[in-house]
Amino acid sequence: MAEYTTDELMIVNAARQLGALAAAGKSQCFVGIGLPSTAANLARRLYPIEPVLIYESGCIGSKPTTLPLSIGDGELADTSDAVVSVPEIFAYWLQAGRIDIGFLSGAQLDKYANINSTVIGSYESPTTRLPGAGGAPEIAASAGVVMVIMRQSARSFVERCDFRTSIGFGDGKGDRERLGLRGGGPQWVITDLGVMEPDPDTCELVVVAVHPGVTREQVVAATGWAVRFVDGLPTTDEPTPFELDTLRTLQAA
């Protein structure tokens, strides 16, 4: 059996989901930097039908040969089908509903998949001032579906976010519709422990799979709300040597 890290499990599983979406005709993926960008670039290398990577810096159809450190590395622009201005990428491409998948991360996530990337503590006197919203609020609102990739801990997976930077399902089922949001919201939260999906009846995140070697107890301990599990909880497939090799080559480049 191959050795791998929990981060590798997380990234490989996210890439698999992107591959499945691309195969189903959902290819256009608006990618945040960091974990989303790594997983999306891995998916581009793993699957015959590649996701189309769109970055908020205005790059459409980026095919970077190395992982960018920032959203605006030259490599992203050099390898894009088109480069547009920042006002255009948000108005003509994201807001207009041309993005199938919004791919986000954050500092805090709550049980309704709302994301906080603004402050820990109060807004006026924060314990920790985080970078802030960036493109996330409108990605979360307008993308066809949203996928979240985040390392899981009781501190970061909370009952309720200190600040709602990007909406998931608000306070529960029906909130997105009441607010008139056009996108479908978060459908998958992929962590270093497993995969969560919103319960169809309540929109509360439920664990639908754990990664190989991860126990329910670990997940419970790393979740700040009374998390539920699906019946007959499956384990995600072991990463294949091809997946691991491709990811490691990508990260070493």
């Binding site: 930097i33 810096s57 605006g72 006002p87 802030g132 609020p137 409108e138 909406i167």
Partner: protein, 278 residues
């Protein structure tokens, strides 16, 4: 029109001004930020989608009383430590913040460039931002009745960008990631552009835009002036510098020593480059 960076800042940047130094990761006008620190401007209202190191320097150096922004991190690295310290601990003094999303800021710049008082977007819905940011309101579509977000135009006193080239008349050519640079210049009352080179004629370049000389107030020849950001065709992003900034900026003394040595201790950007060895 074509002048030294020293003179451009002396002439166009005043205490209390609202400044937009733009460049989305690419072409960030870091040299201008340094010159503003050297000339000790105070009470600035800084506007920028992604404050980046340029604003970390300015905030930590005590030049700034208000920041309007949408993402205040060190891209690919983590926190912007001087920004954090100012918000969390009011060091070196309190910093008022006006916080938006990227889409909202882009809409605000576009409205500013268009001579409109506000812009409309599908934005902020279901987020906590409107609770804390007064400049997010709503507007009703007069045709469908739909309610949308409205944000006020940004119209800085000075729009500041770095670009690849200018010709001797002051026409400015920019290519690669264009961010909101055009909007920042067009939305501003005055503008300063630093460039990698000044040439007799601007050869056409795929993906390039040109800002005509008559919307630019000062063009300054500052090779490498985006460092540690980059200018496509001239330099690459100095990712190592961005990573090293985290440790320097985490500590107030280390930060102050760095600014004293590399910015205040140099007379211009060429000296700064020698000083940091790039």
């Amino acid at each position: 029109m074509i002048t030294s960076l020293h003179d451009a800042v002396a002439q166009h940047v005043h205490d209390g001004d609202t400044l937009a130094l733009e460049g989305f990761t690419h072409l960030i006008p870091h040299a201008v930020a340094q010159e503003i620190i050297r000339q000790e401007r105070r009470n600035l209202h800084l506007v920028r989608m992604t404050p980046d190191l340029a604003y970390d320097w300015l905030i930590g150096s005590g030049c700034v009383t208000k920041l309007t922004f949408s993402w205040g991190g060190n891209p690919g690295v983590g926190s912007l430590q001087r920004f954090r310290d100012a918000v969390e601990n009011q060091w070196p003094h309190p910093l008022e913040i006006e916080e938006h999303s990227h889409a909202g800021m882009a809409t605000r710049y576009a409205a500013g460039a268009s001579g409109l008082p506000f812009g409309v977007l599908r934005g902020y819905v279901g987020t906590d931002l409107p609770k804390h940011t007064n400049s997010i309101k709503t507007v009703e579509c007069p045709f469908t009745g739909e309610v949308l977000a409205a944000v006020p135009a940004i119209n800085p006193d000075v729009g500041i960008i770095h670009a690849q080239r200018a010709d001797r008349a002051g026409n400015v050519q920019i290519w690669g990631l264009l961010g909101v640079q055009k909007e920042a210049v067009l939305a501003s009352a005055r503008s300063i552009v630093t460039v990698e080179e000044i040439v007799d004629e601007l050869p056409p370049v795929p993906g390039a835009i040109v800002l005509p000389y008559w919307v630019v107030n000062a063009v300054c020849h500052v090779p490498g002036g985006a460092h540690p950001s980059f200018a496509m065709g001239f330099s690459v992003r100095d990712n190592a510098f961005y990573k090293s900034w985290d440790a320097i900026s985490k500590d107030r003394d280390a930060f102050t020593a760095w600014v004293d040595k590399h910015i205040k201790g140099t007379t211009d950007f060429a000296e700064y480059r020698e000083s940091v060895g790039v």
